[in-house]
Every structure is written in structure tokens, then in C-alpha cells.
Amino acid sequence: MNHSAPLLEVRNISKSFGGIAVLEAVHFDLRAGEVHALVGENGAGKSTLMNVVSGVVRPDAGQLLWEGRPIQLEGPRHARALGIGFVHQELALVPQLSVAENVFLGRHPVIRGFVNFRQMHERTQRVLEHLEHRIDSHRPVAELSLAERQIVEIARAVVFESRLIIMDEPTAPLADRDAEALFRSIRLLRVRGVGVIYISHRLQEIFEISDRVTVLRDGQRVLTQPTSQVTREELVRAMIGTELKERLGSAVASSAQAEELLRIQGSIRLTVHRGEIVGLAGLAGAGRTRLLEWLFGAARAAGSEVLVSGRRVKLRSPVDAIRQGLALVPDDRKTKGLILGASVLDNIALAGGRTRFWIRRSQEERAAQQWIGSLRIKAAAVSQPVVYLSGGTQQKVVLAKWLFAGARVFLLDEPTRGIDVGAKAEIYDMIRTLARDGAAVLMASSELEELMGLADRIVVMHRGGIAGEVTRAEATEERIMHLATGGSD
């Protein structure tokens, strides 16, 4: 083995799909024991590059070197055999099976033709302990939190003796504290000499975890630097190609005197005024999604009543909630927000166009075109299925649906999850515009920075209840985390 050679080297890799260049002569390398972050906007070519590295996509030109030797990857199986592991964004675990069975999925240790459960559990426990996580290997994965499931995926990569692990936005669904546990595991992998390619939209954690960072833009490599030698601004500029205007800009004028559009009273107390953005902070499992879905009539909860514009209302179903002018942008747009196979138009018209019997196609099309224009939805046509759109564009379609329905109270659950930096800025602008136009916005987010930049007030949840509230002026990360972890006010 040549110790000076990097674990993996990618030279001049190019790849086109349907005549459109997705990767153009890209260089990339990863050393053993290194965490190399890969960033770029959606469509910059990150996924394609990783698909090349994991053997899913065959490049048109260029060379792959594994420990200094040129290789031709025959397919994903070949890459796995070499020791290239992939921790997927959409976790590839079987919920009904135990932790150990998932770790050994497809490669159960066998003794005389039977699965050797004892060895399987012992080895799983050993790996989990090594990763400094206490998860019972007998528990079914369905019972685990998202963070724990990710550890299981990492454990799987360790058991298969992966020498290179690709992590595609592993923290996207996690709250900050859970992300910390993940980072601990990554650092342990690094000590073992495993190389990690780390893809994320959250720049903060790039600085926290990575040794080097590479930026892709429009299929080309625009930057590779030791992380300690770049600034956040340089990274953002490299990603989007221009200076990003102050994303989390000026505060909206305080609106304490404005009409109260939404009030919850009872065991949970919360108000949102016209023109106000109220943030909802909390750790994963603190009950933010539950609260928003309950407000929207989609989940059961007891002990509180809801007033809209000062009138007490019963929201037994989303139908009731929509009639009262509420809108929910759910935490997972693919499973809850959109009909992926349906067109942009049908998605936009789904909620607002329901009041009549006959579809008024031309009227709906005009309105949809208007929202497509003003929200800058990048779709080829209103008849285009939303499944082909990028994450940010899909989220705009969800918002357009509620604007079309004439909603006044917007419940936003992680509205920028899995969205690239440029589109995030646009979503922030849209949220501000909503408030400026007189809507009330209640917005849950796991990114404190985002809440502190956008919200007039931040309500912090802990274990299903309200732990406290801070105004924009007094909001600091420490204070919010203090409340979110159960500290008293």
C-alpha cells in the first residue's frame, strides 16, 4: 500500500445526462482519516459525483484511483466490496427488524445454515459501544429516533469495514443536540482512519466537523481548501457565485399592537398577531410538529382551545382549519406536502380550488401562472409534475397552494429543510412578505440561526409544553437552548 497516496482520488471526471453536462472535469480526493465536506446548491453535481464514487453512475470521462491505483467501478456492489459505504439521507433501514438485524442486513453471520443471532448481537453491541452510543441491539428500528437510526446506519458501515463513508445530509432531519452525537461518531471514525465525505447544506457544521471542504457549482469544482482557511462568506460566495445579500436582513417592524389572528389558550398558551412571525424552537421530539398538526386539525391533542381572529373555533379536521384561513406547510413536503406525481397546477389548486364542483381550468391556470411568476417557481410548465422540481421549488409550490387558498395564518414546519442556500434566501423573503402583507406566521425550525434572523418572538418548546418565550432582541442561542433543554426561565 502506498501511504502517501490518498484513499480515493477522482481525476477529471465528466458526466452528462441527455446532453447536459452535470460534472465537468471534476477533481476530488479524500485521505484516510479525513472528513472532507462537499457543498454546493441543489443541482451543483454533488449527488452525481457521489454516485460515481459509489459505483451507481459510470462517468463519461476521467479516472478513479483507489489508494493510488486506477480502478473501474463495475457497480455499487464492487464499490461496497472495496469498502465504500453510503449513509443515505432517506434512511435505508427495515423498521420491523431489530438494530442488529439491520446492521447485518444482507450479510447475517451464519452458523450451520442458521443465522447466528448471538454473534450478530455481540458484534453490534461492540460497534455501538465503540461509537459511544447506548442502543439496545434487540430493539426494533421502528422504536428508534431519527438520530439513533443514523447511528445504526453508521454502525452498518463500520461492521462492513467501510474505509470510506459517504454521508448525504445526515443532519437534515436532526435537531442540534442530536447532530452533536452524530459528530462524535464521525470523529471516532476519523480516528480509526476511515475517510468521510460529508454533504450538508448547514454551513455551521461544515466548520465544526470537516478537515477540508470542496465546493461544486454548475458541475465544476470551484474551491478546495482546508476548512480552517476559509470563511463562511467565502464558502457562500463560492456556492452561489455572487455575494449573497444580507439573508437574514432587517427586522420587520414590531407588531404588538396589531390584531391577534391566532391564540391558543389552555395548557399551551401562544398568540400570533397579524404581520408577526413567531418562531417555534425546541429539540427533536419537543412537540413542535405535533402542535402545528394539532392546530391544523390533523392530530389529536387535549387541553387547549384555539381562537382565530378572537373567535373560538373547533378545528376537527384540516377542512375546518382551511375554512378558518389556516395553512400548514408540513415538515416533510414529499410525504405530506405534495402530490409528487401530479402537476404543478393540480398541486397549487388542490386546496383553494376545492370549493366549487366544476374545475375552472383557465381561472386556475391564470392564478397559478401569477404565483409561479411572483414566487419565481422554476417549472417548465404548469403541467409539469412536481416530482422533477428541486427541493426549494417544491416548497414554493406548497406555499403557492396556500396563497391560492387565501390563507391568513401560516403554520410552517421546518420550511427550509433540505433546501440549498440560494433557495433558502428566497423562502425567507417569501415568509417576510407574507407577514408584511398581513399574515400571521408560526414557524418551527431546528436551525436557531434561522429563527433568530426571522422571528419577532421565539417560543421554546420542551416535552410537549411551552418552556418559555424570548423576543427577538433578547434571543441568544444559549438562552434558547437553556429553555429547550428544560432549564427554567
Partner: protein, 326 residues
Amino acid sequence: MSEAIRPAPKPRHVLSLANLLRRFGPLLGLLILCGALGGASDRFLTADNLLNVCRQSAVNALVSLGQLVVIITAGIDLSVGSILGLCCVTVALLMHGGVPPLISVMGVLALGAALGAINGILLTKLHLPHPFIPTLGMMNVARGLALVISGGFPVSELPSGFRFWGAGSLGWIPAPVILVILFSAAFYGFLSRTTIGRDIYAIGGNWQAARLSGVPVDARLVLVYALSGLTAAAGAIVLAGRMNSGFPLAGVGGELDSIAAVVIGGASFLGGVGTVSGTLVGALIMGVLRNGLNLLNVSAAWQTVVIGIVIVAAVWVDIVRQRAVG
């Protein structure tokens, strides 16, 4: 922004071979089948025979329209064959009991819709895990009731005004074909021009998202299964008219024929996809196949084998086609 480099998928209306295949694949299959059978038997491509095929396909076509709506919601209705049988016997018994044909027909259509609605209510209110369960139950209950009320014997000799809808013609067009055209037009308008139709596609595409967009999913599902029962009853009227008899074993296996027609017509079991025109073509493919094989003196046993193969082949072709489109 860099999203521009993502290969922009073509909008649906663009004319391309893949799109044409996707749209007209089942129709193309039907035409090829007709051409082949015409070459194999000189009795196939005659006006009389083709009209006969249409008449024979009418019952399955009607039942399949309801099944289509169910399958669009990602459901399945196993009870349509039995509902058809129960309605077939009931309409005959009503008329034998002196009820005027028109009232009998209305009553039986209501009965079919009500039985279907029960399927929908069982599915949504009892939170049964899958439409397979309530409709499997209804399949047995309805068939059993058909045997009970008829004593297991056919109820023959029906009024001629009633028989018109199965055996009559308007000019040279068979009456059941007119019925199929009317029902198809209504279902087409309903599915593609009303907001309820859009709701139905949305439920099949992603019921969670549909619910969170304000679609009253439970109410829509009850309606969908009621429509499926309604078209099964319409099929019963045509069949009883054509056979001049209400017989308790009418429509045995009808649920499977209707599912086959819907699926051959390009609908997806995953829901959210399916058209009235595709389903009509699917029903015609089934009818042409049976008729052609009869003309070629293929035994009923072998016909069953061929139809089984065609069902699997049609769905497989559809999957290959979709993969080609991307």
C-alpha cells in the same frame, strides 16, 4: 442559479415517441391484436362480429369504470362480481314480483351503490387496514345473499322492455354499447372536470398530502366505492337483459376481469394514475381476445391461460414503458 443545469424534463404535451407510446400504448396493443386476429380468421373483422365483441365487452366495461375509480385511489374492489350477481337476481325477482322494470332498475342501481358505500364506510370508519378486507367480506356476503334469495336457481323470462338494455339495438348500435358510452362520458367528466375527481386522483397520489390540503378523504372514499357498486349494478342490468335471466352465479370472477381491464388500460396499483379511455381499451382487449380465440376454436381452458399471460405482459410492458420515459 445552478438549478438551470438540472436536465429540464419536458412538459407533458410535447410530442415524443415515448409520450405517444405512453398515451396510446394500450390502443396500439388493441389495434395490433385486431390485425393479428383478422389475419388468422376471416370471420373476425366483420361488422357483425365487431359489434358482437362490443356487446360482449359491455358488462366488463361498465364494471371496470367503477373499478378504475377505486384503483385510482390506490384501492381495490373485490366485491363487484358478487354485487353484480346479487343485483342480477334482485332485478329479476323484483320484476317477477310485479314491480315495473324502470322502478326495478332504479332500485337495483341504488342497491349496488349502497353495497359499495358500505364497503367504503367499513374501510374508513372501522379503519380496516386495506380495502382488500371489507370488499373481500362483501364479495362473500353479496354472493351468499344472491344464492339465498334465488334459492340457487336462475330467474328467467324477463319483460322485453327490460331486455332491450342487454339484447336490443338502436339502429345498428347495440344498446349496451350506448349505455357504456353514456357512463364513460359521465365518468370522464367527473374524473377530469370536477374538483371531486381531482380529489380522487390526489388521494391516490398521496393521501396524506391530500388530507392536509383539505380533501375530505373518508367521504371521498365512500363515494368512490359507492360508484363502484353502482357500475356493478349497471353491469347486472345489461347481463340480465342479454341472458333474459337473473342468475345467482352471474359475475363470478367479474372483479378480476375488471381489475385486469383497468390495469391493462394503464392504471397503476400505486394509485393516482388511470384514465377512462385506457380502461375502455383494456375491456375491449379482454373482449377481443376471448372472441378471437373462440373464432380460432381455442378451448375455454386455453383461453384462460392466454388471458392470464396477457395481463402480466400488459403490466410488464407498461413498467418498461415508464422506465423508458424516466
